[in-house]
Symmetry: C2
Subunit: 336 residues, 2 copies
């Protein structure tokens, strides 16, 4: 089934079940008022939502047109957003650009940071930032929402706790990252509010594309209406979601509604650095990676970060070309 | 007024108003079912809770005995927990022990990390950990809970967004910190679930002790029943809570219910490193700081981190010796 949280003036939105093609939805708030409430009692609530989803598919319940711009992020605020960096290729490239050797342990011990989760942006709302000089960038990623996860869970067992899958734009401020990481406490100001896809879906909706804890479909990332990235989610993902969840749960339990991100989807493509779509490659899911490759190849980065007025779009299509999660589509705006 | 969340089998507990001496409480769930719900609509809800608090002080409402061990952390799960390191003395000492120079900017630009906020421990519940070798330590801190804070707020304006003040034990796993910080993404596994004081109080309850964005009272930290730290909250706090909130809100809004921590309370005491209580000093709010001083003075640390069975207690008393927030009192237990 597919779930969304409609804008209704409240902080958490109203839970609806959306049909497979994202054209219609039906109110689910009599079952659970919000997605968090559903996740808090998932074993009890999910079967009821599933029945409603089947009724919706048979036109047996009242429907509304579903408009993606009416949706908040599925969890407009969450109790946890932990973002991995599972496409280690991305990390290696960034390090190569600054001539830093990547520790071998990065291939076996996942990188993960604790993100802010109190104010996610709606998928079609602008990215409001005070200063272009922060170096505004998107990061196209895949994410999962878990149920309650016990401390010390194994990677295999962890996958059974994945309740929903969705996409994320992990907005990043490249100009603030070096100073912040130099202080040693990780990201904070350099990772402002993220935005998630309009719809979150249960793994069974993904069929064969969801296997081995990875989502085997290309992530469409467009910049100002032009294709920018089509990296394969299932390729070069060094750590699957089971491993990422187990990493997060090593020393604490994870509460229902925890969101775990994959990190920027990034493909290596035959040993070398990733190629642009124009050059026959898979392109990029963030501008920073293209700039790294420009730096490696030409000695300097020429593609600028996002400017006020720029628009990014992140989406994933099924085998028939239909949007699975709806699109994150955001324009960068100056905050006043 | 003083607020607590009683254990009632739910994830967020039941909101109660507690009397000044922490002996009685009264159900406030008809005004707001949970503390988060109260914070979501604070301007509307707080005056009603205040009226209830006055009725409680006049025995004009039904009361229950208040037992601190019946309380969850005031926000048992929160949308944001951001912990500063405002007592820069603590940071400088830790660096000195490993002969690393602290950047001058640390005196002007706050250190802050994003903490996990989905599963806080109740103030009298054990710290369950799988392995003593993680180097289990407490960090006694002061924290505030904010309302909605706009992006780019000034430090002065930020103080008006402080709704509640409380204490926190920011449990830290010293053995995991070096490896994790070495990876560059900040703390994650090394900062498991924190515990907060049984009661959160509005700033007006603190009288003159709450001024200039600091809490001017000693923080009592005991280890296995022995006094360990009595560091003054108002001394050597380089960044006040207004500055910490402004730092957190530089590139994003903060949502109501955001918890901002002070970092380990630490006093310098006359230019040298902090002295133990036995030596006439203010003692320590974490074991790591004592170990640092042992290392500086004797070449090696001799005080061990917490072992299974050890108990820590964190509390703050008013001028008459009464507990303001109730006590965090936790025993370390082996997780099975």
């Amino acid at each position: 089934m597919k779930l969304a949280s409609l804008k209704d003036g409240s902080r958490d939105g109203k839970l609806v079940v959306v049909n497979e093609r994202l054209t219609y939805c039906t109110d689910a708030s009599h079952i659970a008022p919000t997605l968090q409430a559903a996740l808090d009692d998932w074993d009890h609530v999910a079967p009821k939502l599933q029945v409603l989803a089947e009724s919706l598919s048979h036109d047996a319940v009242p429907t509304l047109r579903f408009h993606e711009h009416d949706a908040l992020s599925p969890l407009p605020r969450a109790y946890q957003w932990a973002d991995g960096s599972a496409y280690v290729n991305h990390v290696e490239l960034v390090r190569k650009a600054r001539r830093a050797k990547m520790p071998e342990s990065f291939w076996t011990d996942p990188l993960m940071y604790q993100g802010g989760s109190d104010t996610f942006i709606a998928p079609r709302d602008p990215i409001k930032m005070r200063d272009e000089a922060y170096g505004i960038d998107m990061e196209g990623e895949i994410a999962v929402i878990t149920g309650d996860v016990p401390m010390g869970v194994s990677a295999e067992e962890a996958l059974s706790h994945v309740k929903l899958v969705l996409l994320v734009n992990d907005v990043s401020l490249r100009g603030l990252i070096p100073g912040e990481l130099g202080k040693g406490f990780g990201f904070f100001q350099s990772k402002p509010s993220s935005a998630f896809s309009p719809v979150a879906v249960t793994p069974d909706e993904l069929g064969e594309a969801w296997r081995n804890g990875k989502l085997h479909l290309p992530l469409h990332v467009d910049l100002n209406g032009q294709p920018f990235g089509r990296a394969e989610g299932g390729v070069d993902m060094t750590f699957d979601f089971g491993q990422l969840i187990a990493h997060a749960a090593k020393t604490r339990t994870l509460s229902a509604g925890t969101i775990i991100g994959s990190g920027t989807v990034s493909n290596k493509m035959g040993g070398g650095p990733g190629k642009s779509l124009a050059d026959g490659g898979a392109g990029y899911s963030c501008i920073a990676e293209l700039r790294v490759i420009e730096t490696i190849e030409n000695g300097e980065a020429t593609t600028p970060f996002l400017k006020f007025g720029d628009t990014i779009r992140i989406e994933m299509l099924d085998g028939e070309g239909h949007s699975i999660f709806g699109a994150i589509e955001q324009t960068v705006q100056q905050a006043l």
